[in-house]
């Protein structure tokens, strides 16, 4: 079987207008890439929302980032002060990747 290494899979749910700012933070801790997953709707303590709002300020997006444990930790630390004011939902899981040197 092909060789795999363990990396972190980070998901950050965030208001769409704030995405560029978080990407900037990711770049600063030397994370190499990211992908944005389309979220249609959701609900939580603050009520429900749908992506079909006319104002984009209400839409949310998931930023998916694969990174090494060290970079993931650095990113979580960098985002820690923003968690509350940005209302981020941040999860970190373990996954196996092929060609792990890329992350």
């Amino acid at each position: 079987m092909v060789e795999t290494v363990t990396r972190k899979r980070i998901e950050i749910l965030v208001d769409t207008p704030l995405v560029p700012r978080l990407i900037k933070h990711a770049r600063e801790v030397d994370i190499s890439g990211w992908s944005l997953i389309h979220v249609d709707a959701g609900g939580g303590h603050d009520g429900a929302w749908q992506h079909d709002d006319v104002t984009e300020a209400a839409a949310k997006t998931i930023i998916l980032i694969i990174a090494s444990e060290a970079k993931a930790a650095a990113l979580v630390d960098a985002l820690a002060p923003l968690l509350d004011s940005y209302g981020l939902l941040l999860t970190v899981g373990d996954i196996q990747v092929v060609r792990g040197d890329r992350f």
């Binding site: 207008p17 700012r21 603050d46 006319v54």
Partner: protein, 319 residues
């Protein structure tokens, strides 16, 4: 007059949207289609404004109206901020964010007003589109000044260039101003070949767009957990006062009745596209649940159903 307004298809579709949301219908306008319609409406309104100004030229009226619009957009947030902190009980940051929305304008409220006024033989001057574009952004600066007052040295990430860029490169501002300039350059003759799409279809698209706006506004209201009686009251009081002020100033500086009414409606309207996006970036601590529920959930429907008629009657009375 209000009956006339309320039986126009444009308004009836808005009411249908509100109704569908209230009975929790699953009726939904696809997001991409709603966004497409808003792009179409902004391009069309910009083009038409530009063409009218290219015909009438840059008149002193235009300059006066532009100055009045700029001043209103910049100053109205100070008045709203006072009400929001004292009567509404909001903190400095939330109040600043909300105040910015009320200083800025809603393109769709303006477009609907233009349609309804024109239907009553009261056609606002073409340059009011330029005034609309000018009024979008100054309020953002006032709102931020208010929200950050006394914290000038706060090293927020958004201070400085980033925000200025966000404000002036905002999609709706670029599209509106860009289409206006295209209209200016192309003029009446250049517009002829593209007229069928941008003029013929306009009101029909507005119907479908307001159907969506009705759905969105009512859903926001029912799903919101952030409003209380005082904020609801302010979301009605602020537009009425702003609108009356706008009509009065418009009349004082010598605008025709229709344009004075339009200035009032601009002053009364609250942004729900450019400003929320800017606030989410510049003041992430401000609660979007508050400003969106007020501007989109209450002020927008109020203006469409009542405000437009109110301010046009006021303008007729004092004009």
């Amino acid at each position: 007059m209000i009956v006339e307004t309320l039986t126009s298809p444009v308004i009836l579709f808005f009411v249908l949207g509100i109704f569908a949301a209230l009975i929790k219908s699953d009726l939904a306008i696809p997001e991409a289609f709603a966004k497409a319609m808003s792009i179409y409406l902004m391009a069309a309104i910009g083009l038409k404004g530009g063409i009218e100004v290219s015909a009438s030229g840059f008149t002193p009226d235009l300059a006066t109206a532009a100055l009045a619009g700029l001043a209103l957009s910049f100053l109205l947030p100070f008045f709203a901020f006072a009400l929001l902190t004292r009567f509404g009980g909001l903190g400095q940051i939330d109040a600043g964010a909300v105040a910015a929305h009320y200083g800025s304008v809603s393109v769709v409220t303006f477009v609907t007003a233009k349609e309804i006024l024109t239907g009553q033989g009261l056609s606002p001057a073409g340059y009011m589109v330029a005034v609309l574009a000018l009024m979008e952004t100054p309020a953002i600066i006032s709102g931020l000044l208010l929200a950050r007052r006394g914290q000038l040295n706060s090293n927020t990430e958004s201070s400085g260039n980033g925000l200025l860029h966000e404000v002036f490169a905002n999609g709706s501002v670029v599209l509106l101003v860009g289409s206006f300039v295209i209209g200016l350059i192309a003029g009446k003759d250049g517009f002829e070949p593209v007229k069928p799409l941008f003029e013929t279809g306009f009101r029909g698209v507005l119907c479908l767009f307001l159907l969506d706006m009705g759905l969105v506004a009512a859903r926001r209201l029912t799903q919101s957990k952030k409003l209380n009686a005082r904020l609801v009251a302010l979301a009605l009081i602020i537009p009425v006062t702003n609108g009356a002020l706008g009509v009065t100033i418009g009349t004082l500086i010598g605008l025709d009745v229709a344009s004075a009414a339009a200035l009032g409606i601009l002053a009364a309207s609250a942004s729900y596209i450019a400003v929320p996006a800017a606030m989410r970036m510049a003041l992430p601590e401000a609660d979007p649940g508050i400003y969106l529920s007020m501007s989109l959930g209450i002020t927008f429907p109020f203006n469409i159903i009542i405000g437009i008629t109110l301010f046009s009657q006021l303008a007729s009375m004092i004009g």
